[in-house]
Symmetry: C2
Subunit: 240 residues, 2 copies
């Protein structure tokens, strides 16, 4: 089976309902065959996993999907093994990865997505965790996972909520500074800065970007590239 | 001996020479007895440690100090054991902590500061690493240290470059959201959001804040507090 991923920079936008900006693509991605989505809420921290699941239920009900919270299942591994589709929410990436390890889910999710071929949708932290590592997160390291290695479903890193903006007067690092530090230390890995309102759709060896903004590509030893939705992103799927 | 720390949110400000905003306090802190500062450049990533050390040399020469780069020393532990004063630079906090562990310096620095009482100045990542952990950093986790536990020279966490600003339209977490996630998971630890142009000076059991901005205090189960330079910060030095 081919792998199928929909990786969104964000769920909410300022003026619209959650997922509204990507609704058509989400429905097309899951197709008519999928009715229930298994939701992994582990990135949620202050909201609580029940509340987070309710929020996702309400957001995806108008699109015709039922949502099941993984944290409500007695045996999370079994629930993943039975799921027809996975959705992984944003929040704190360290918290998400910590609880994926805690519940021994890394290999199970990899098998479901890479071998069985069930569709995987992730937004923000849920997109980041599909990458080789969590190392391009913007989140605070509030808890230490046993490893920074993540699901490794794709061979490149996403930086979610990517922005080239820099608050005036702020003397800390810009986002570009931070990503350049990452590629300095991790030279073989490419990074895609994915602005809000943008997503990657991966179907086997095909990758497309959708969104009205440019995606910024960082690669050690190469100039920064800004690519739009009609660009060829297939180089991102090449092995490192 | 009493412990002596000067923890700055930042080194540079937009319109002035590096450290200019804190120059009087720096001179008063080290006093006339200290001529040479041992500089730990490990937070530097893209600049390189030689260039970073040169930058600090130039910045502190007008204040009358010589600066020695720790990375130029054959035996870093011995260099720390002989140092009259330590300065720890900003950059990437994960990179800094990784190399402190790599060079087996954690306990040596703690002994010099807590037992012998040599002065410790840190800015940005160099202030953060004086805390119990690195877990309130804003930096990207570009490298995994063996532990998030840091120098633990003070019992509270600093969030450097603290800002309540939020770029318009950005749907990711605010800085306050991120720190609230931290205290949700680490309930016994207080966090001080230290804006640029602010510093903490700690002399034994005395702590003072200096700067024209408010420091925002986050504590689990308590309302957020904004404290100015004439406020009493001694509660931050209480054990957790």
């Amino acid at each position: 089976m081919m792998k199928r991923l929909l990786l969104l920079s964000n769920s909410r936008s300022a003026d619209e309902e959650p997922f509204y900006w990507a609704a058509d693509t989400i429905c097309d991605f899951f197709g008519a065959g999928v009715q229930e989505l298994l939701f992994i809420p582990y990135a949620g921290v202050t909201l609580g996993w029940d509340n987070y699941t309710d929020w996702v239920k309400k957001a995806l009900a108008p699109l015709g999907y039922r949502v099941l919270g993984l944290h409500t299942q007695d045996d999370p591994r079994l629930a993943v093994q039975r799921a027809a589709a996975l959705i992984v929410g944003g929040g704190n990436t360290f918290h998400l990865l910590y609880h994926l390890y805690q519940n021994n889910l890394i290999e199970t999710i990899r098998e479901r997505v890479l071998v069985v071929g069930i569709p995987y949708m992730g937004w923000s932290a849920g997109g980041n965790v599909a990458c080789p590592t969590l190392q391009t997160t913007n989140d605070m390291p509030i808890i230490m996972p046993p490893s920074f290695n993540a699901l490794n479903l794709i061979p490149f890193q996403i930086n979610p909520h990517y922005t080239a903006l820099h608050p005036p007067g702020h003397m800390g690092e810009t986002r570009d500074d931070r990503i350049k530090e990452f590629i300095e230390v991790n030279r073989s890995v490419k990074v895609a800065g994915l602005p809000e309102g943008c997503l990657f759709r991966i179907e086997g060896d095909q990758i497309h970007m959708q969104g009205r903004h440019y995606v910024r590509i960082f690669q050690y030893g190469a100039e920064i590239k800004d690519l739009d939705a009609i660009s060829d992103f297939s180089f991102l799927l090449e092995p490192n």
